[in-house]
Amino acid sequence: MRPVHPLLRHALSGLAGNVVLLAGLSFLVFVGVDLLPGDPITSRLGPTATPERIAAVRAELGLDQPVLTRYGDWLAGIVHGDLGRSAAGQPVTELLSGRVGNSILLACLATACLIPLSFGFGLAAARRRGRPADRAISTGSLLLLSVPEFVVAGFLVLILAIGLRLLPAVSLVPAGSSPVRHSEVLVLPVLSLLLVGLAYATRVIRAAAAGTLRAPYVEFLRLSGQSERTILRTAVVPAVLPVAVQIWLLTGVSMIGGAVLVEKVFGYPGIGELLVTSVQTGDLAVVQALVLVLGGATLAVLLIADLAMVLLTPRLRTGGGAE
């Protein structure tokens, strides 16, 4: 009956949907940023520029065209792999290339640490529901959730970098090198991102695990004389995993765009600074590229999260089965 594997078909249709969504999103942002008060030309030429000069630069950059035409041109450029030029005249691809990678690196590292920690803490708390260990973990994560991330980052700098001098306070990465080769500068930014993400992920995983521990099939396993360890391994972990994977992926991808504040505190060479300045100066090409990159990454991750959910849940993976 089905020529294509259902999972593949799901992935393909999701991908197609995402492309449409991204196109819609980019259009909205294009028109939106166009309407913003910041005008790249006046901010570039200054207020004393003559009207003729402004008109000339506008024409040069194609800004005299209707917004739809410009959007069309921009789209055509995308198809050819050209993200356009910033208001200052630099190619956007050049502006973004290293920075996007650095931001992704930060998010990946934080997520890599997040996975085992949140899983461990979440399960530990759920198993000891209501007992001191659970209280400690739950309260700790609640408190961490309640402090803005830049405050967390600030405290970390104060204690670990300036007080104890264990780690560099700012992420200075030598020219011609990458943060990977200077792993010490990554520690504090990763830690700041991790702490905030960890609190949330732990809470969600704890809730999912606690729910599963109350499920009838766990009771049945207990009544069949299975040990708690076995129950945890065979019934609870597989049930929590689909939820956990979703949380990890979503937290991870939100860290790429969400690291702006943390990047600012540490002077980390990511996309944070670019994000802030390009929006404020109405640098359309850069904003668009960032929306495309961040939006695309988020949608892709949402899709992967969906697929992971299906793959990790036998009922979804194998289709309906005998009913």
Binding site: L21, G38, V147, P148, S254, V260, V291, T298
Partner: protein, 262 residues
């Protein structure tokens, strides 16, 4: 847990009261200097002074309300818009429901900070802030509302109401809403906490609207943390307190609703 929940509510309401009447009981104005900058706590200024020598306690009392009201307004607007979309999507035919939800997915794809920047650049005031926070939270609320309502929409009494020809307002307001109010309130708590952070983050990025709200106080106190730690700790504790209380209240709302549908 229930005792903890009660404590959460009590805490929440106490804080709410202090915050709401704060401007009335503040001993000084927010702008008038009462002493040297970064003065430690003293009889004249119980929490010391800030970077301009203004009374920290008064600024704290004056700043709670704008933060609370902005965050509340933003969370309420976001939860309302999101919930409504989610509820309608859950009650509609599948295709229409999906069509309603897709644009919201697109919003989820934009990082909240970027949305915040876009909105605040367009409207650099409190309204812009509320709109930005509402837009970022609406899609998540819609998801929560949709999945909560989907569990309820197939119940016999809802179908019965549809079958006897009840209109949308009855269906949503009387049949569905009372049953999903718990999850929605819980979600509202989470949105509220998120709103508090975004408002604070806006201040951190220099985009804040009021000059006394707590997010702004934190940002202003950060450089002088070593000189006057109280000026930093007081608003940080205030924000954390609000967030913890809201989280506890939200947990409680979620628990209450679980019992209802058992």
């Amino acid at each position: 847990m229930s005792r903890l929940g009660k404590a959460g509510w009590a805490l929440f309401f106490l804080l709410l009261l202090v915050i709401l009447i704060g401007p009335a009981i503040a001993p000084n104005t927010a702008t008038h200097p009462v002493g040297p900058p970064y003065a430690p706590p003293s009889g004249r200024a119980l929490l010391g002074t800030d970077h301009l020598g203004r009374d920290m306690l008064s600024r704290l009392l004056l700043g709670g309300r704008p933060l609370l009201l902005t965050s509340l307004a933003a969370a309420a607007a976001g939860t309302l818009a999101g919930s409504l979309t989610g509820l309608v999507a859950a009650l509609s035919r599948r295709r229409l429901g999906a069509w309603l939800m897709r644009p919201l997915d697109a919003i989820t794809a934009v990082p909240p900070i970027l949305l915040l920047l876009l909105c605040l650049t367009a409207l650099p005031n409190r309204t812009g802030l509320v709109i930005a926070v509402a837009i970022t939270s609406a899609p998540l609320s819609a998801r929560v509302a949709r999945s909560a309502a989907a569990q309820v929409a197939g119940r016999a009494h809802v179908e019965n109401a549809i079958a006897r020809g009840e209109n949308w307002s009855w269906l949503l307001g009387r049949e569905i809403l009372p049953l999903v109010a718990g999850p929605l309130l819980a979600d509202f708590g989470i949105r509220f906490v998120a709103a508090v952070y975004l408002v604070a983050a806006a201040g951190f990025l220099g985009l804040g609207a009021s000059d006394t709200d707590w997010g702004r106080l934190i940002v202003e106190a950060l450089p002088g943390a070593a000189l006057q730690p109280v000026a930093l700790l007081a608003p940080v504790i205030g924000v954390a307190f609000l967030a913890v209380a809201a989280n506890l209240a939200s947990d409680r709302a979620a628990q209450n609703s679980r019992g209802l549908l058992a």
